[in-house]
């Protein structure tokens, strides 16, 4: 019954303790094909522990994982075939070249012969290491090692790619390259699970974001859904000509608009749920005889969401 909308990953009620420390406490979420799901949380939130359970490295105390319809607990080997894991810590053989690292792990993924060669070549291309395929990887820059680390997870074209903080300690250029390849992969239909504590990355890459703290998901949704969740107010700036005073009065009557300031040739509004209210705002200004030249909406960021949900800042 595998249809295109069936989730590639179904994590249900995952929990795991280490001694008396509860690292992960009932985490549930799903990822569909082509979707990038971000687990956003600070150090020690339980991201790696969650991922380790999903990748079959750590046995959950409770809960279950299903990958591409295969229950990991019952058929781990079959389920793992669908997973490409990019661990948080580099996992490459320093003495081996990029090509040898890829070939070795490719074999263990069950690839061989011309298919293996073809995939190794393709992955080297994807991560931009074709020119450096031969030298020992210990001589690579940090960013190159990271890229190789990611490449190994892509070899067998998994249905689910798991990336655990892949851009930590990476120069801006490599970081850009990594983010671009992740975007490209999800366009090709791969489901991506991406953990990070960088809010900008989560905003840029992820279709949906789960905010995790102290081992549990505090909230989940698209960026806009999360922002709406905290009921924060957006700032809408309207620039234009005409009767600004009339527009100001008309706007103040709208339910979603909490405040209006007139500021020379512009109106600055405090609005609840700007994406939904914006068409009403634009209509009201037109009705009042104001001609808009520019509209700008700025929303609270995920940082604010995180602060609201957990009472602490995302970065420590």
């Amino acid at each position: 019954m595998t249809t295109t909308t069936a989730p590639v990953l179904d994590a249900d009620g995952l929990a795991r303790s280490f001694g008396s420390l509860t690292a992960v406490d009932g985490v549930t979420f799903q990822i569909r094909p082509g979707e990038t799901y971000g687990l956003l949380g600070p150090n020690g939130a339980g991201k790696t522990t969650t991922i380790s359970m999903i990748a079959g490295l750590l046995r959950p105390d409770a809960g279950s994982v299903t990958v591409a319809g295969v229950p990991l607990g019952d058929r781990p080997i079959e389920a793992k075939r669908h997973i490409g894991l990019v661990p948080q810590d580099l996992a490459i053989y320093p003495e081996l070249s990029a090509r040898d690292n890829l070939t070795y792990f490719g074999r263990l993924q069950g690839l061989s012969g011309s298919r293996l060669r073809e995939r190794v070549g393709a992955v080297l291309e994807t991560v931009g290491l074709t020119d450096r395929a031969k030298g020992a990887s210990k001589k690579f820059s940090g960013g190159m090692k990271r890229r190789l680390n990611i490449g190994i997870g892509l070899l067998h074209e998994p249905r689910l790619l798991i990336l655990d903080e892949p851009t930590v300690g990476v120069d801006p250029q490599s970081r850009h390259a990594i983010l671009e390849s992740v975007e490209a992969l999800s366009t090709e239909g791969m489901a991506v699970l991406y953990t990070t504590h960088y809010m900008e990355e989560a905003e840029r890459l992820c279709d949906r974001i789960g905010i995790i703290d102290a081992g549990s998901l505090q909230a989940e949704g698209t960026r806009d859904e999360l922002v709406d969740l905290i009921g924060g107010t957006d700032t809408v700036t309207l620039a234009g000509t005409g009767d600004l005073e009339a527009a100001e009065r008309a706007l103040a009557d709208l339910a979603a608009v909490e405040q209006v300031h007139r500021d020379r040739g512009a109106l600055r509004l405090a609005v609840k749920g700007a994406p939904r209210a914006i068409s009403g705002i634009v209509n009201a200004t037109a009705g009042a005889g104001m001609t808009l030249s520019d509209v700008e909406i700025s929303r609270p960021d995920l940082e604010a969401v995180f602060l609201h949900l957990t009472g602490k800042a995302l970065r420590d």
Binding site: A91, P94, Y104
Partner: protein, 389 residues
């Protein structure tokens, strides 16, 4: 199965590329065989009595081994009188011709070794001494090499908070061994090994404990590299990873020991007897040595710790098993010390060179089998650092 071979092949290839397997598995043990052989070879000739004045700082545990070993030469066919004196006397007695050789173990010798420094023992010959003095020097030299072979890994201990305790324990074992057991070089009562055979078997057994580390302790290295997590995320059962490391160790151990025994028997003219019986013994002893590594891999947190633990185990078992000096004595302690791959190697090769076959090896093989099973069970039962292992 194919994946198992892929992993073993990668491991072995890695060892061939990396020189330390050749150095610690083959070159060093062979060099030591040569040194010891040089030392014991002249025993067939008539040697003059010689007096050795040895100075060891009070309470220096490893230093105390030096006079014990030298006294041991006396029973091995070379008449040696060992005088324990202080440092100034060691020098003056040699100058006055009262002693043929003066040996001065410096202050802080044991501490220095444990800090990873090369041992510096001063050996001074009196005028006109001959072969006998060279023998004494050779023995001291060989002993220092033995100490140093562990020192490289022991150096790591310095960085680790918990280890002084472990090292202290090693030192205690060394000194306790010294007082509880009478060390006598040369042939032991019920074994048929020649002095040369004893050296070859002892060194092969001792260094086997280093060689088998190259596979299994790779688990600890890979845990540090992060590649272990990656291996465990591959579509294969996790025990396959562990098995591949065990088999790599086993193959390396068998190859290195086979080469050492063959080279040893050719160069030093030793006949170990039936090749079949020796081969069977080899498999059993290598399996036992490998099984110890699983225990270390389970307990060690870092590759450095694993190296230290390995050195401690090798030196302890090497001493108990008579890799350096034949262990005499009888009773419980001696029996317990025989349950040890190094001892089994010497004892087994004694049996085969005396004309024994596989059947005669029965008790030795059984001991190793039980040893292996016990080690594997223990490492299985110990709580792991990661679930999948």
């Amino acid at each position: 199965m194919r994946k198992l071979l892929v992993m073993i092949a990668a491991d072995l290839r890695q060892q061939v590329l990396d020189k330390s397997f050749f150095i610690f598995g083959l070159a060093v043990p062979f060099a030591l065989m040569a040194v010891f052989n040089l030392v014991f070879a002249p025993l067939t000739e008539d040697l003059e009595p010689i007096t050795v004045a040895v100075s060891v700082p009070d309470g220096d545990q490893l230093g105390a081994v030096v006079p014990q070993v030298l006294s041991g030469l006396d029973g091995g066919g070379m008449p040696v009188t060992v005088q324990q004196v202080d440092a100034a006397d060691a020098t003056s007695r040699v100058e006055e011709g009262e002693a043929g050789v003066g040996v001065v173990v410096p202050e802080g010798f044991t501490a220095g070794l444990m800090a990873g420094r090369a041992p510096e023992v001063t050996v001074r010959h009196a005028d006109g001494t001959g072969l006998e003095a060279d023998v004494v020097t050779g023995v001291v030299d060989g002993l220092m090499t033995q100490f140093t072979s562990g020192a490289r890994t022991l150096a790591a201990a310095q960085a680790l908070g918990a280890d002084p305790a472990q090292l202290g324990q090693l030192a205690q074992e060394v000194s306790a061994g010294g007082s509880a057991v009478a060390w006598t070089p040369g042939e032991s009562a019920d074994e048929q090994l020649s002095p040369q055979g004893t050296i070859v078997a002892g060194q092969a057994g001792f260094f086997l404990l280093f060689t088998v580390g190259f596979g299994v302790l790779g688990l600890v290295v890979e845990r540090e590299w992060g590649t272990l997590a990656r291996l465990l995320s591959m579509p294969m059962p996790s025990w396959l990873v562990v098995l591949s490391k065990g088999l790599s160790s086993f193959v390396l151990g068998v190859v290195a020991t086979a080469v050492l025994l063959t080279a040893g028997s050719l160069f030093f003219d030793v006949d170990f007897g039936s090749p079949l019986a020796v081969a069977v013994l080899l498999l059993a002893v290598v399996a036992a040595a490998t099984s110890i590594m699983f225990l270390i891999a389970k307990v060690a947190r870092t590759a450095e710790q694993a190296g230290v633990a390995q050195a401690i185990v090798a030196i302890t078992l090497g001493m108990a098993g008579g890799a350096f000096f034949q262990v005499g004595g009888s009773g419980m302690l001696s029996e317990i010390m025989q349950v040890n791959p190094v001892a089994a190697m010497s004892r087994g090769l004694g049996v085969t060179s005396g004309g024994g076959g596989v059947v005669d090896l029965g008790p030795v093989l059984l001991t190793m089998l039980i040893f292996t099973a016990a080690m594997l069970t223990l490492s299985w039962l110990l709580p792991g650092r990661k679930d999948a292992l």
